[in-house]
């Protein structure tokens, strides 16, 4: 499935639509270059779960956790593997704890190191640049 977004606000609206289709235990991978709208997308998605705290880039912290009041998706784990140099660093993050949590929705930015290792189905959203602020979002399910 593909969406065209003309503005960051539209990216947030698309995220809110995608949020409707998600369930606890789901994993989302977000791929796209710097400034392509990944964190904006997560902001829209987390807002759709009525979390009103700040949703900021986890690049430095690597992982942010947002508790929600949703009955099944009780927390959203926002991961950013941008700073990781190789797959050996993944085990220091105890990501499997989140990936196996039946009450968590896990969203991973810069997932390329995790993708070959993940043992469960995931959805990948790719952010491509169009003209100006416009972006093309492509949503694919794996496997």
């Amino acid at each position: 499935m593909q969406y065209r977004s003309n503005t960051p606000e539209q990216t947030k609206k698309i995220a809110a639509e995608v949020a409707q289709t998600l369930k606890a235990g789901d994993v989302l991978f977000l791929e796209g270059n710097l400034g392509s709208g990944k964190t904006t997308f997560v902001q829209g998605l987390v807002e759709a779960f009525r979390y009103d705290g700040p949703v900021r880039s986890p690049t430095f912290a690597i992982m942010n956790v947002y508790p929600t009041s949703h009955p099944t998706i009780q927390k959203i784990v926002h991961v950013d593997l941008y700073r990781l140099a190789d797959a050996s660093e993944l085990r220091t993050l105890a990501l499997e704890e989140c990936l196996e949590d039946p009450n968590a929705l896990v969203i991973v930015e810069w997932p390329h190191l995790l993708e070959p290792l993940i043992k469960k189905p995931y959805t990948k959203i790719t952010f491509a640049f169009l003209e100006n602020e416009a972006r093309l979002l492509t949503i694919e399910k794996y496997p």
């Binding site: 270059n33 710097l34 400034g35 964190t39 904006t40 902001q43 700040p54 900021r56 880039s57 690049t59 430095f60 912290a61 690597i62 992982m63 942010n64 956790v65 140099a85 190789d86 050996s88 660093e89 220091t92 993050l93 105890a94």
Partner: protein, 347 residues
Amino acid sequence: MRVLGIESSCDETAIALINKEGDQIVVEKKFLASQVKTHAVYGGVVPEVAAREHADLVFTLLQQSGISRDGSDVDVIAVTAGPGLIPALRVGVELGKSLAWAWKPGGAGSGFAGKPLVAVNHLEGHIYSVWLTKEMNVPQFPALCLLVSGGHTELILMKTHGVYELIGMTRDDAAGEAFDKVAKLLKLGYPGGPEISRAASKGNPTAINFPRPMLDSKDFDFSFSGLKTAVRICVESQQGHSVEDIAASFQAAVVETLVTKTLRAVSEYHPASVILAGGVAANSSLRASLQQVLSHQNETVTFHAPDLSLTGDNAVMIAVAGAFRAEKEEFVDPLTLIADANLSLVK
């Protein structure tokens, strides 16, 4: 009072021992996990990966620091309890709890079964890094703190020791993160702060008019994500700007945004002092601009920035913040203390 500080909130594990007697604070020992010699395991210097694994390193770190095995030279243990990355935070918190549990209390007549333990907020630690200036020129309250690092961009009003109000923060990327990502776009090295600063010193800061995001918003929040994107578009459009000019123009946009918002907060909250802390406090352009503009606008407000060696994450600042908490006897129970990824500065 001798305070052992333990910091492990993200990439680095560090311990430090300070001695605070009245207003005098002396740093007696400071060690970083990335400096520990563990030839057997890593064959030399510990890479960043391993520094984040910390757990393998903490006892080697303690041993090499020369802190007495029985804790007899330590009165209080101070540990970063959050915010940060949970697997990393846990290492320091569990170490602090274990030592507090095992070590005998110092000083006669102490009512505690173990060594007194204090929990320090990582952001609070950064703020206290300015209490270590050699001139004994400490901030007065209320103090307005601009905390800028790879993970944080916050304006905090410190009313007195341990009492904070968050008045603004970044809504997306931290300022230090913007430096790192722009450095990568410009194919400069990591960490990006010093690299951008170096390139910027040879460039023209008015060459490109990058956006100053949220400069006119009424609140004290920041946003650096759009600025990063503006730099990317500038780089990819190949308009012939030099790396030095882009770096200088980007740095000017960040500095102007931070300084303008801080000044506006000064007008609103009338602090006695302004504190600049965190990794980006090492940026000489930001330090100089903020100091200059402050002294120009308001001669009564004092300006405080940490020694360059204390701008990044370290355990000395945790020990100092912990010493002030210990003076108020704000001790925590090792049985119940847990690492909190989202630990708030405001109670």
